[in-house]
């Protein structure tokens, strides 16, 4: 009788503890920033696609700024994250490159220097002295590091060059800020601007591209270093094979990219050089 009660208690304890009761592994946590998170419906479909392929629960965690996502990665609150090339370089030792998107068939993108369409005069960032300039995110390459690097190359001090600067925390909002004239200029990701030119042409039409930067490695998807190898491989395989099925292709079309490659950290050497030059690290 005593033994029976003990067994009952053990069973009850097992049932009460879901970790022990269910053999299901913990969900994979994927961090997203603005890059694509404005399209909630699309990312939701992407998440279900991942769950379906991985046969495992996947959670998307959306944050406004790159630093928040980086903090969560470092605190191991995320397993994977789609971040910018700049924080990838900045926190190089704390993340593991998982995949690099292909844009126009190549793993590169650029920064566009844009001004309001009504400004027909500006041909270079040098002419934007003493104006209002919109930055995207202090951990964005195209939206922050690139224009500052350009100023640095011109021998200017970025902190004093503009009359006023502000952060919008999103490339898309940066385009908006320029389009409505809140900012006199800004630098944005070519991928976001080009995508907006397709989905919201009236917005990009209110801006004008003054100059295009050299190519940089496309914003990568990274893994938290302690993610299990199996999970890393599965996720990487999933991303790389998205081009092979119709559903994956549709998602890629929605994200306005052509697919993923495993990529190499050397893609980001230029960013590291710029970062060193500007003295941010």
């Amino acid at each position: 009788m005593k033994l029976f009660i003990v067994i009952l208690l053990v069973v009850a304890a097992i049932l009460a503890n879901p970790a022990l009761a269910a053999a299901e592994p913990a969900p994979l946590r994927v961090g997203l920033t603005e890059t694509v998170s404005d399209q909630y419906q699309l990312t939701e479909e992407w998440r279900r696609y991942m769950e379906h392929k991985l046969k495992r629960r996947v959670e998307f965690i959306r944050r406004d700024s790159y630093i928040e996502v980086m903090d969560m990665l470092r605190l191991k609150k995320l397993d994977f994250a789609w971040i910018c090339d700049y924080p990838f370089v900045y926190f190089r030792s704390q993340v593991r490159l998982l995949a690099v998107p292909l844009y126009h068939g190549r793993p590169y993108y650029r920064a566009y220097l844009i001004v309001p369409a009504t400004d027909l005069r500006t041909t270079s960032i040098a002419q934007l002295r003493n104006t209002v300039f919109a930055y995207t995110d202090p951990y964005s390459n195209t939206g922050y590091l690139t224009p500052r690097y350009q100023l640095y190359r011109m021998g200017e001090k970025p902190a004093q060059f503009f009359r006023q600067t502000f952060f919008t925390w999103s490339h898309r909002k940066t385009v908006e800020a320029v389009a409505i004239g809140l900012a006199d200029g800004a630098a944005v990701s070519s991928h976001v601007w080009d995508t907006l030119a397709i989905v919201k042409p009236e917005l990009t039409a209110a801006t004008r591209i003054v100059s295009r930067s050299p190519e940089y490695g496309f914003s990568p998807i990274v893994a938290q270093p302690s993610v299990r190898d199996e999970d890393f491989r599965n996720m990487q395989k999933l991303l790389l094979e998205m081009v092979t099925d119709a559903e994956g292709k549709a998602l890629l079309r929605g994200l306005n990219i052509d697919g993923f490659i495993a990529g190499s950290p050397h893609l980001y050497d230029e960013v590291a050089r710029m970062m060193k030059a500007v003295g941010e690290k």
Partner: protein, 482 residues
């Protein structure tokens, strides 16, 4: 022309209309004024509420200089609601403590960190006002002649003020809204007027038209008897109705009075003529009788030659004619005669049949007499003969002359009726005077004699000639023979 002297016909509806229009205008104006105030206070209240909420949300963004977040906050109300919504602000902007633009909803016209004073005099006045009197709560700022209303609220927390949030409303939107309210009011006002004015006009006419008729007719009293007013002109029992009734009564009395006067004058004249003619007749009759007797004696004596006798005969015939004429004028009612019997009616019919036949006129006499009536038959027969002969003479060939004789309630009533020549009004007024007929047929003494007989018998005689029918009416007081 003095408006106060206008006819009631115009004055009553006119004054009524003026009062209605004035009342409608006054009510409309006060309602519109009220609507204007309500609209404005609604607008400003909701705007003040909005500004407080925005200012509270804006505080951290200003503190952290998060321009984009601030822009997103102030942009929301600018794109809310349908176009033309009254509370839709035209512009929202936030100023820092040095009155420089921290963020604005229209950065192209109000760029960041620019001093607001440089964008026009109105903004400069606004900035001065904000500096001069930093209100602790939302302040409504309105400059005379300005197209805008400003709602300024401090962006502050626990006494720390970072700047000022300003919501700009265009009066145009507000006025457009007010105009739509006002035009709706105007349409309703016009509808009220289109209903009330015709009612007022009709009502005014309804009162005024009878009053005007009354006034006009009363005005003609001085010139004679005013015409009667049909009572249906005003069929109500109010004061005006009573006035109509009184007027009707007055007209009737006046008419009776006039008729009475006319009758009196006529009968007095006839009496005078009667006395005169009777006097003259007596005066003539006496010597005439002597002359005729003398001539008779003269002829009887004999021995006169042919010529003398011829002359005497001629004189005798002339004197006889004078006697006949005079005796015709000398009506003697007190002659001794038997009473009038139904047989006399038949006699008259027979006597007239020859004349009727000659003129191809039919005579219809109806009589309800069953017994003799206590009236001298000679005189009654003369009355009947005179009236019927006149009727025969006036009738067209193949016409009919009617005569009715009735005895009732102590009265013998004779009525004759004929067509043909009507009696002219001129003749009618002297009908019973001697030689009134213009001497076309006979000496014109028939009706005069008839009148004299009727008058002496204490009866009444009347005549009328209307629409081609001439009637005579004679009533004689007569008892039955027991």
């Amino acid at each position: 022309m003095n408006l106060l002297n206008l006819s009631f016909r115009y004055k009553t509806p006119l004054w009524g209309s003026i009062l209605i229009v004035a009342a409608t205008l006054a009510i409309s104006a006060s309602l519109m004024n009220q609507a204007y105030d309500d609209l404005k206070s609604d607008l400003l209240n909701s705007s003040a509420n909005l500004s407080r909420t925005l200012a509270k949300t804006l505080f951290p963004t200003m503190m952290h200089e998060e321009v984009w977040r601030a822009f997103e906050i102030i942009r929301a109300p600018l794109h809310n609601g349908p176009d033309g919504s009254m509370v839709q602000p035209e512009m929202i902007f936030a100023l820092d403590n040095r009155q420089r633009v921290f963020v604005s909803g229209q950065p192209k016209s109000l760029p960041l960190s620019a001093d607001i004073r440089q964008f026009g005099e109105e903004y400069a006045r606004l900035a001065d006002r904000i500096v001069a009197s930093p209100e602790p709560d939302a302040a409504i700022i309105e400059f005379s002649g300005s197209r805008h209303i400003y709602v300024a609220v401090p962006v502050s927390e626990e006494g720390a003020r970072l700047g000022t949030l300003v919501i700009v409303h265009s009066k145009d939107v507000f006025l457009a809204r007010f105009k739509s309210v006002a035009s709706r009011g105007a349409v309703i006002g016009l509808l009220v007027l289109t209903v009330l004015l015709p009612i007022n006009w009709y009502w005014g006419q309804r009162i005024a038209v009878p009053l005007v008729q009354l006034a006009r007719n009363i005005g003609s009293v001085a010139h004679g008897v005013p015409p009667e007013l049909p009572l249906e002109n005003y069929a109500y029992r109010d004061e005006l109705g009573q006035l109509f009734e009184a007027y009707g009564l007055m007209v009737k009395t006046l008419q009776e009075k006039v008729l009475l006067e006319q009758g009196m004058i006529r009968s007095e004249r006839l009496a005078a003529v009667g006395r005169l003619s009777a006097g003259i007749a007596h005066e003539i009759n006496n010597p005439l009788g002597g002359m005729l007797i003398a001539l008779d004696n003269f002829k009887r004596r004999g021995g006169h030659d042919e010529r003398t006798l011829k002359t005497v005969d001629m004189i005798e015939r002339g004197l006889s004619q004078i006697r006949d004429t005079v005796s015709a004028m000398l009506v003697e009612a007190k002659v001794k005669s038997r009473e009038f019997t139904p047989q006399d009616v038949e006699d008259v019919d027979t006597l007239l049949s020859g004349e009727a036949y000659k003129r191809a006129v039919i005579i219809r006499i109806t009589s309800d007499l069953a017994k003799p009536v206590a009236l001298p038959t000679t005189l009654v027969r003369q009355i009947l003969m005179n009236l019927l002969l006149n009727a025969l003479q006036a009738s067209e060939p193949s016409g009919t002359v009617y005569c009715s004789i009735s005895h009732n309630a102590g009265k013998l009533v004779i009525e004759t009726k004929n067509g043909g020549h009507a009696i002219s009004e001129d003749v009618m007024s002297h009908l019973f005077e001697p030689f009134a007929s213009g001497e076309k047929d006979g000496p014109g003494l028939g009706l005069w004699v008839t009148y004299q007989i009727v008058a002496q018998l204490g009866g009444q005689i009347a005549a009328e000639s209307r629409e081609g029918v001439t009637r005579f009416y004679v009533a004689l007081p007569a008892g039955e023979i027991s």
